[in-house]
């Protein structure tokens, strides 16, 4: 086998700016991404609080809020337009700037190179660019939030023709929507740079002895996710370019002939609104797996570590990740069952969608088998990983229901879908992030987070999210449509109002409980227990180096890998774990 060394030699920079701001060190970049995600998640949560206020108390006027957002209230309760704007920005910020940046770019940047034994990413300059491009995208997205005319109201999926017609589409559909499209296009560029780096690093810069089949499942997950990103984001970019041209260039890629909006007859002709849906969901479905796959990797890794057992059927796990990644490219039509597609097409998409259940079930059963008869250590990281498994199952089961076109005709665009994707994408991925944070925090900052407060945080979060999202299934089954500010005029929904109240209160409690996490995070930076190199007695490479790791990760030593990633409780070994860099004799 060839030597694998970092393709470049670099010295540690000294100035503050080169070290912490325009840094090319993958670890600094990883933390920058995590910080970006933290800011974004805070904004996203505030927006969701505003929405929940409206839903729980439909007629309240909230004078204090009305003072802050005069147009949003216009003297009465929050306007439906303002509600839709909050909804759009909430979804967009969460999906792109939290669920894509934190699990993939954040933890991936920090730990992928170390886990495969590289000193940095393959292209450090490009890596730095990827963060700052993403940062600019975020700034532009915030500009959309405060644009004149208001924030866009077309949802995170920006369905055409509404998103394409410009200001006459409603408030926020002028400058706001244009900024939205530009931000997303910039975001695509940043994500592509990240994906390129991840793939090249894994394929070319692994340490000696780090064969592919010795990579931790976290690295496998980031690798697969990067493939998805590399092939999905260009499609969104193409769609975004065409959408932007429809908005500012007068073309009609997505605007059909004879469209009348607000009594105005548009002159466009021949465009296809469905074309956008195809382009969007061809990206969109892989995107939801971009959000969840790193969480699956983290969960596999952590379940094994804290049950002191090898991952059950490692090869099957790798295969399942790949199968999920591959199948995610041929299921996008399940978002479009209601678009008038032929029943045969719908059946094909239904079958491919259900096929995702097979590798998903493989993963779930292997997680359970990993736990089976393990010596389980209930650390915070472990608890959040167990929570991830629970949420993944709860959300996956409803996915199977939605995959039936006949059922979906009823459930599409109801709260049932909202419940499904929040549980599986929103919350499961967030639990993956939390698990990763409690697990890797000591490595990143040299100190442990407070376990006691972490557990309080966990229980509030787990019970909280189930209280929030489980009842939404009932709303959906009762026919409650999504993306409406207020449904008090509909008799058949009136009796469900208490449920909305319950959900909102649960949401406020759960969101407040996140303060515990933020407090723990910042408190532990200074006051946490010193971590040492390997507080969890883990096996992968990042635990063989100091916490936090030195600039080039491994110092003067070139890491050489002699073991698989999950050699826990090997009979006859001196300790109950063998690190990947331990000498070959460690395994008797």
């Amino acid at each position: 086998m060839d030597v694998h060394v970092a393709a470049h030699q670099h010295e540690a920079p000294t100035g503050f700016v080169r070290k912490y701001i325009f840094s090319m060190d993958h670890k600094v970049i990883g933390i920058q991404y995590l910080m970006l995600a933290m800011v974004a998640v805070t904004v996203g949560m505030i927006l969701s609080v505003l929405m929940r206020l409206r839903l729980a108390w439909p007629l309240e006027k909230w004078p204090m809020l009305a003072h802050i957002f005069p147009e949003g209230f216009a003297g009465g309760p929050m306007t439906p337009e303002f509600y839709l704007a909050m909804l759009t920005m909430h979804g967009t910020i969460m999906v792109f700037f939290v669920l894509t940046t934190a699990p993939l770019s954040g933890f991936g940047n920090y730990f992928l190179p170390i886990q495969v034994g590289a000193r940095d990413m393959a292209f450090p300059f490009m890596n730095m660019m990827s963060f700052w491009v993403t940062f600019v995208a975020f700034v532009v997205m915030l500009m959309a939030l405060f644009a004149t005319g208001g924030a866009p109201i077309a949802g995170w999926t920006a369905y055409t023709p509404l998103s394409a017609v410009g200001a006459i589409g409603g408030p926020g559909m002028g400058a706001g929507q244009t900024l939205w499209v530009i931000s997303i296009a910039i975001f695509c560029a940043g994500s592509l740079l990240t994906a390129l780096n991840f793939l090249t690093t894994v394929l070319n810069l692994r340490a000696r002895g780090m064969s592919l089949m010795r990579m931790p499942l976290t690295s496998w997950a980031w690798f697969t996710t990067a493939i998805l990103a590399l092939l999905a984001f260009p499609v969104l970019l193409a769609g975004g370019v065409l959408l932007l041209l429809d908005r500012v260039g007068g073309s009609s890629f997505f605007i059909p002939a004879g469209l009348v909006i607000s009594d105005k007859h548009l002159t466009n002709s021949g465009g296809s609104p469905l074309l956008w849906q195809h382009l969007f969901w061809f990206f969109g479905h892989p995107e939801v797996y971009i959000a969840i796959l790193p969480g699956m990797g983290v969960t596999s890794h952590i379940l094994s570590t804290f049950s002191r057992k090898p991952v059950f059927a490692y090869k099957a796990m790798v295969g399942a990740i790949f199968a999920i990644g591959f199948i995610s490219y041929v299921v996008w039509g399940h978002h479009m069952f209601m678009s008038g597609m032929s029943p045969y097409t719908a059946m094909a998409f239904s079958i491919t969608t259900m096929a995702v259940g097979v590798p998903s079930a493989i993963k779930t059963f292997n997680w359970l088998a990993t736990l089976w008869k393990g010596q389980i250590r209930f650390t915070c990281a472990m608890l959040f990983s167990l929570g991830f498994v629970s949420l993944f199952v709860s959300g996956g089961v409803t996915g199977m229901l939605l995959a039936q076109p006949a059922v979906d005709i009823f459930l599409h665009d109801t709260y049932f879908v909202v419940a499904h994707f929040h549980i599986i994408m929103g919350v499961a991925a967030i639990f993956g992030i939390f698990a990763g944070m409690y697990y890797w925090y000591p490595k990143m900052f040299g100190r442990l987070m407070h376990e006691g407060w972490g557990k309080v945080h966990f229980w509030f979060s787990l019970v909280g999210v189930y209280c929030i999202f489980m009842p939404m299934h009932f709303l959906g089954l009762a026919g409650h449509p999504r993306r409406y500010a207020q449904l008090t005029e509909f008799k058949y929904l009136l009796h469900l109002q208490p449920l909305h109240l319950f959900i909102s209160i649960a949401a406020f409690i759960t969101i407040t409980a996140q303060v515990i996490f933020f407090f723990n995070f910042f408190w532990s930076l200074k006051k946490g227990k010193p971590a040492g190199d390997n507080p969890w007695e883990s096996t992968s490479l990042e635990w063989s180096i100091p916490s936090p790791p030195p600039f080039d990760n491994f110092g003067p030593i070139e890491p050489i890998v002699h073991h698989g990633p999950y050699e826990y409780s090997v009979p006859g070994a001196a300790k109950d774990y063998i690190m990947q860099t331990d000498p070959p004799e460690a395994r008797p």
Binding site: M1, D2, V3, H4, V5, A6, A7, H8, Q9, R119, A122, F123, L192, A195, L196, L199, T200, L203, N204, L205, R208, L230, L231, F233, P234, V235, L237, A238, G239, V241, L242, L245, G249, G250, S251, S252, F253, S269, G270, G271, S272, L275, H278, L279, F282, D552, P556, E558, I560
Partner: protein, 187 residues
């Protein structure tokens, strides 16, 4: 080939040129995969939009684009000659000049269409023409930057820069032929 890391003195190992070359080429191939996906998405939009539109009027190809195509092909070929022999700077200069000529010719083609009253907004075929050639053109500008870099970058990076830039440039040439076929070959 194998250099044992065990024999290396302490301290970060010297950057191995073979690894660097492989890494650059792999990075470039992945970038090309992404670019390929971008144009695949445009293609599918083109096919769908074409099939749906009852009043799709194909714009005839501006004549100058034949010359442009020739320039791009010559550019690719001369770059290949330079890559193989590397002594004759002339081939590189020729390649760069032909690339610039291509861009100039494309600008001319755009202006010609506009002077005939063909805009983004009034003809879907023209809209795709503008989008596809502009997207390709931006990539060509990036490629010209890369070709310019070959003789500018530090000596030890020069070789892999040239290899990666050639790969990119040939891809752009092939992509151009494909776009011509897509836009004008099927009408």
């Amino acid at each position: 080939m194998s250099v044992s890391t065990l024999e290396l003195p302490l301290g970060p190992p010297p950057a191995d040129p073979r690894v660097s070359l492989r890494t650059s080429l792999l990075g470039m191939k992945l970038a090309l995969a992404a670019i390929g996906m971008l144009f695949t998405a445009f293609t599918s939009a083109y096919v769908v939009r074409h099939a749906l539109d009852p009043d799709w009027h194909a714009v005839p190809m501006p004549r100058i684009m034949i010359a442009n195509t020739l320039a791009l092909v010559i550019s690719s070929l001369s770059l290949e000659v330079y890559r193989r022999h590397r002594q004759e700077r002339l081939w590189l200069t020729l390649s760069q000049a032909m690339g610039v000529l291509f861009v100039a010719g494309q600008v001319f083609a755009w202006r010609q269409l506009q002077s005939r009253g063909v805009y983004l907004s009034n003809n879907p075929h023209a809209a795709f023409f503008y989008v596809l050639t502009a997207a390709h053109g931006l990539h060509i500008l990036g490629g010209l930057f890369a070709l310019g870099g070959i003789t500018v970058v530090a000596q030890e990076r020069r070789f892999r820069w040239l290899e990666a830039a050639s790969l990119y440039w040939h891809f752009m040439g092939a992509l151009w032929l494909y776009l011509l076929f897509l836009l004008f070959g099927m009408n």
